[in-house]
């Protein structure tokens, strides 16, 4: 290699102009090669992850010593107790309901608060206030999620929720949901603000000139015009909430139960995987494999959400462009 490179260098210096052109082509070619290679790397990684998920999931459903496990039982079963009892039960619905409950609480908290904060930042705040608040939000976005988990466990639940009602346990869906909501708040807020600020100033002027007040302009022109971006922000944030692991593993509890009661403890899909991989489940055991089936389910849900988001965005775009 070095000798070829050295020879090439020598030839280049001899052949002068013509050579430098071919050297340039070589350089351009290698750049393209590198870029294509790096792109392939990320594509292949994704494909490999999905392949492993599918393989292990299929393995879970076809385990010879567990004939009771089937796709139908998995997706319709209402009990999830893989570790306890004589007969482990793999009905994924409690995990899905736990995940959706926490996500719904997070969304109910973060979407209105985030959107209104974005409206304030984009329409009402002075440039100075906006700069300060945006840096505060960036700090919020940089907090490790384990800290939010502690926050839920040691502040939200004991000081905010338990004084309201005694039914809240140490671990509960509400505390975890609010903490997840705080975690996704910066995403909702900053993406929505981008969408609102992208609304052309000429539209605001047009509305003011018709005698609209600031509130009219915001509510009847700016938000409708920026709606597609706001919806995209919501979906991205909710997808992030569904996949959140550390907060729910710490604060939501470890009991998989099919409930819509936010004062109860729930187990989310991610929290179950943490439990399995932190414990000493044998690598070929049924619990170990079940976590892959759960992971695959989670993947399907987030994939569907992203897909729905893309369709909604496309429809709004067609409407407005």
């Amino acid at each position: 290699m070095t000798s070829i490179a050295a020879r090439n260098a020598a030839e280049i210096s001899q052949r002068g102009r013509l050579r430098s052109a071919s050297a340039q082509m070589l350089f351009e070619g290698s750049i393209k090669f590198t870029l294509v290679g790096l792109t392939l790397l990320s594509v292949l990684t994704t494909v490999a992850i999905i392949a492993v998920l599918i393989e292990e999931t299929v393995g879970f459903f076809t385990m010879a010593d567990h004939p009771e496990i089937s796709v139908w039982n998995f997706f319709t079963g209402t009990e999830w107790s893989p570790l306890l009892g004589a007969q482990p039960l793999f009905g994924v619905l409690p995990l899905i309901s736990g995940t959706l409950l926490v996500t719904a609480i997070a969304g109910i908290f973060a979407m209105p608060v985030g959107l209104l904060t974005a409206v304030f930042l984009s329409e009402y705040a002075s440039p100075r206030t906006r700069t300060i608040l945006k840096s505060v939000l960036e700090v919020l976005a940089g907090v490790p999620t384990v800290v939010y988990g502690f926050f839920a466990l040691t502040f939200i639940t004991p000081y905010l929720l338990q004084p309201l009602s005694e039914s809240f346990g140490t671990y509960n869906a509400m505390g975890a949901g609010i903490a997840v909501g705080i975690m996704i708040l910066p995403i909702v807020c900053s993406l929505s603000e981008d969408a609102l600020r992208a609304v052309p100033h000429s539209l605001r002027d047009g509305a003011y000139a018709l005698g609209a007040t600031k509130f009219d302009v915001t509510a009847k022109v700016v938000i409708p015009a920026g709606l597609s971006g706001v919806v995209a922000a919501f979906l991205l944030a909710l997808t992030r909430a569904i996949g959140e692991t550390m907060i729910v593993a710490l604060a939501a509890g470890g009991l998989a139960q099919l409930t819509a009661n936010p004062s109860q403890q729930v187990q989310t899909m991610t929290a179950y995987m943490v439990q399995i991989f932190l414990g000493d489940a044998p690598a070929a055991g049924v619990e170990y494999r079940s976590s892959y089936a759960v992971a695959f389910t989670l993947f399907l849900i987030t994939f569907l959400m992203t897909w729905t988001g893309a369709i909604i965005l496309k429809r709004y775009r067609e409407e407005y462009d």
Binding site: G206, A209, L210, G211, A212, V221, P224, E319
Partner: protein, 283 residues
């Protein structure tokens, strides 16, 4: 909060026909002030930068007045004080006096919402809202609740007829306004301004983003609208000023150089700078 006691014209009859010149104003024309707008030593600033110097100008009712002058001469700024649009710009302030039918527009206690309802504005670039054609025109009436529910459709139709757009869009009122051509969009913006029943229409270079054909249709529309509205138009195009306006005001470096009947100002200007500008020697 003060409201402006304007003469009752089409504003309060917007449920009838905004374009009809036959509908008699409830205040006889003879009793009106001779001028719709009077400005006395109006000066204006953006932060510390003075852009208008002691302007004295009267604008007659139901006529078209053109503001001409080179870029940066302050003509758009002046226009934007007539509906207090400059309020949205931090650091903009003005001294002196502007009155619209005797009501002082620079009064801090003035209700700008009410003012802007009575002073419509059309911008340089067409700026329809990303809503349907119908919702664009209905935006103002809905905002001010100046319609009874059954009248809204009629009001939208009348406004679109007045802006010569009705025939082109009557079959697709619910489709997006953004699908219209530039000229149609600008006429839609005029319909949107007309729909709240203004007394005065401000147009800030309304044709500068349009092709010649659309420009011709807007100019024709301006000539029609002048029977109902007082119109102030800012333009860079001197042919346009001479085609559409009754009076012209020439501004240079923030000062009003000359004003008068358009045909006189273009043929026999009193000032040397006016002559140089209208003959294209600078600008």
């Amino acid at each position: 909060m003060k409201t402006i006691p304007l003469p009752k014209t089409n504003m309060d009859q917007s449920t009838t026909t905004p374009t009809s010149s036959t509908s008699a104003p409830t205040v006889p024309v003879a009793l009106r002030p001779p001028s719709a707008i009077e400005m006395n030593s109006l000066s204006a600033w953006y932060a510390k930068n003075q852009v208008l110097h002691a302007i004295d100008l009267d604008i007659a009712a139901k006529q078209v007045c053109a503001f001409i002058g080179p870029s940066g001469c302050g003509k758009s700024t002046l226009l934007r004080w007539l509906n207090r649009m400059n309020d949205t710009i931090p650091g903009a302030r003005a001294t002196g006096k502007i009155s619209l039918h005797g009501v002082s527009l620079l009064d801090a206690a003035l209700d700008v919402v009410d003012l802007r309802r009575r002073v419509g504005m059309v911008f340089q670039k067409p700026n329809p809202f990303p809503k349907s054609i119908f919702d664009n025109v209905a935006f103002g009436p809905r905002l001010h609740r100046i319609y009874s529910r059954t009248d809204l459709e009629e009001l939208v139709e009348q406004s679109l007829r007045a802006s010569a757009l009705w025939e082109e869009v009557k079959d697709r009122l619910s489709s997006s306004a953004l699908g219209l051509s530039g000229g149609q969009q600008q006429r839609l913006c005029i319909a949107r301004a007309i729909a709240v029943g203004p007394e005065l229409l401000l147009m800030d270079e309304p044709c500068s983003a349009l092709d010649p054909r659309s420009t011709a249709s807007i100019e024709e529309l301006i000539r029609e609208l002048r029977t109902t509205y007082t119109i102030v138009i800012v333009t860079h195009n001197m042919q346009q000023a001479s085609r559409v306006s009754d009076t012209t005001a020439f501004f240079y470096e923030g000062k009003l150089v000359e004003t008068g009947a358009t045909d006189l100002l273009f043929t026999t200007p009193r000032e040397r700078r006016t002559e140089d500008y209208v003959t294209g020697r600078f600008g």
